[in-house]
Symmetry: C2
């Protein structure tokens, strides 16, 4: 094993999205992190099973990665060999466009996703179900000593995906917000929003996760399965953060009615179906907005880890040793919605040997 | 004619939305403005022709009204008999709810629209195609001396409807925004946004209004009738303000692509059809938002008139003397999209006699 190649578990056929094969993932590596672990997420399961469209094959998924740096390019300054670092869903951007220069590199037109994206040199990016992954230093983050690697990993995509809209939309003391859905994304949304000082309500279709929501710091748990669930909450929330992929089945005006004037319904969950048909008039009774976002930027990633360290926030995880069978198990379990709340592949040394 | 009754032009049958009959409009009046003029708008034409649903009949429309106060209730303090005042699309709210106490009275659950709303005493509110109208003092605005009545009138609904989202979404120096559609609403959006210091682009389906747009202060005029119109404008606008009622025919992701990161596509134009089918993913490439609003609040109305007076902003109007035929003509012309840019009914004294 050298720093110029990597081995991982790859999918060769999207119809066989749980059939992982061990093979070489990266022909050459610039900045290299030796992955000690990565995280299996619903997004990855979807990606592998074609849920989000075509991807280049074979592909090695995994985009919540913690490891140690084993090699760096000549110009790299912010990380050094041996550092314990994390990499999320993005590994590069042009860093020169208006968006990048304005701390919006997660909206760069030339971004490289952690897996399945084409580098200018023709390489396809490959993810963290692997011995090594390649990332630009700007998208490589030192993990605070206070946060264990397996706890840090899922924050790198699920965490930042909710942290970014929370801070941009003003989750803070005095604000009341609703988190819709309590899964991998939702459980971070609750913990971060509470840590930021907001009052958090969890909205869920069934009462099954009430206990967990309250343990995570939610003030109230609202079951949305009944026809008039929204009526007691008119003009209640400054922000609704949807983390489910089921928006096509929502009566959106019911949710909108629970927003304060000019509040935002923000989604970070994306399904395979269009949004329900809606009139523009549905936004007028309280002047509300609907929107979405894509991960977060570097300053937000650093602030999120600082907050997690300061408040001793812990991801709720289920560790699974990485192996061909382990990879298959977690994507099947995610597909079956069994995760509570994030699977983390661990014990990489047992599979790939000591790399750092 | 006494201050306790009023006569106006009313529609008795929505299928005959241009057949106005002169009859008594108000059985009793609290705060009364003697309407010298009011404005016919597309919204009114739609309302009268059933485009926006049912309304109580007979009905007297008109919701951009300037006149002089001829009577006040015992507790009225902010206006007095003889004042030249304006009334917009809202004549009352409870003034006690959280929204009202937070300067969001235009989103009060107990608001009374200027026409077609039910007062607690059982009266139906009636609008400005009339000798008098009734409004609460909080929704009655002194008109600055520098602004002629016929110029002020259309600002009371069309003006405030665009002024409110412009200031709430930060139209100011350094911001670049797009106004979609140049009609009664759009022409105010251009003039106000320019006066607020923003750089304004007008987006229109055809080039026919280019000259007018530039005269109103727009920096650029973009014709959206071609397939790739949006491509040169990726990440360009802080805000898009749609004033058309044709959103059902828009390719919304094309418009979204022209927004800067976290920008807002805001509509104040409402059609009869649902928005086009769209994926939640369409909001993710720049983290943008879609929303709408309903008129504006009292502080915004006062600030808008102050701005119009300070910058000598003039509504582009076509005056038509009020009469049964005049009312019919303006609703037909609005229906045929002939307005450039707002019809104003004038010469009320000729029809109703001197009232103040």
């Amino acid at each position: 094993m050298s720093a110029n190649s990597a081995t991982g578990f790859m999918i060769e056929n999207q119809k066989e999205w749980h059939n992982f094969k061990r093979r070489e993932t990266l022909p050459s590596i610039a900045v290299v992190s030796a992955a000690q672990m990565c995280i299996q997420s619903p997004e990855q399961a979807d990606s592998v099973s074609s849920g989000w469209g075509e991807c280049p094959l074979p592909i090695c998924v995994g985009h919540e990665i913690v490891g140690r740096v084993v090699a760096v390019g000549k110009t790299v300054k912010t990380v050094k060999i041996g550092d314990r670092v994390g990499v999320g869903a993005q590994v590069q951007s042009d860093l020169t466009c208006t968006n990048c220069l304005g701390d919006q590199e997660n909206y760069c037109s030339n971004m490289i996703d952690t897996y399945g994206s084409l580098y200018p040199d023709g390489t396809i990016s490959q993810g963290g179900f692997s011995s090594h992954i390649r990332a630009h230093e700007y998208f490589t983050f030192k993990i605070p000593d206070a946060i264990e690697s397996e706890v840090a990993a899922p924050m790198l995509c699920a965490g930042i995906t909710v942290y970014s809209p929370l801070v941009r939309l003003g989750a803070e003391p005095g604000k009341r917000l609703a988190v819709v859905g309590l899964g991998g994304l939702g459980h971070f949304a609750v913990m971060f929003a509470v840590a930021l000082g907001a009052e958090v309500y969890v909205l869920s279709h069934t009462p099954s996760k009430r206990g967990d929501a309250l343990k995570m710091g939610a003030k109230q748990f609202v079951v949305t399965g009944t026809k008039d669930w929204h009526k007691p909450y008119q003009f209640t929330f400054d922000l609704i953060l949807n983390t489910t992929d089921a928006l096509h089945s929502f009566v959106l005006p019911d949710y909108f009615s629970t927003l304060k004037v000019n509040g935002h319904f923000h989604t970070v969950g994306f399904g395979d179906h269009p949004l329900p048909s809606i009139m523009a008039q549905s936004f007028a009774p309280n002047g509300c907005y609907f929107g979405a976002s894509h991960i977060g930027n570097r300053p937000e990633m650093i602030a999120m880890f600082d907050l997690a360290a300061a408040c001793n926030l812990k991801s709720w995880i289920q560790p699974v040793p990485i192996s061909r069978d382990g990879c298959a198990q977690v994507v099947k379990d995610v597909h079956a919605n069994n995760g509570r709340y994030r699977y983390v592949l661990v014990e990489y040394d047992n599979e790939f040997g000591k790399r750092a």
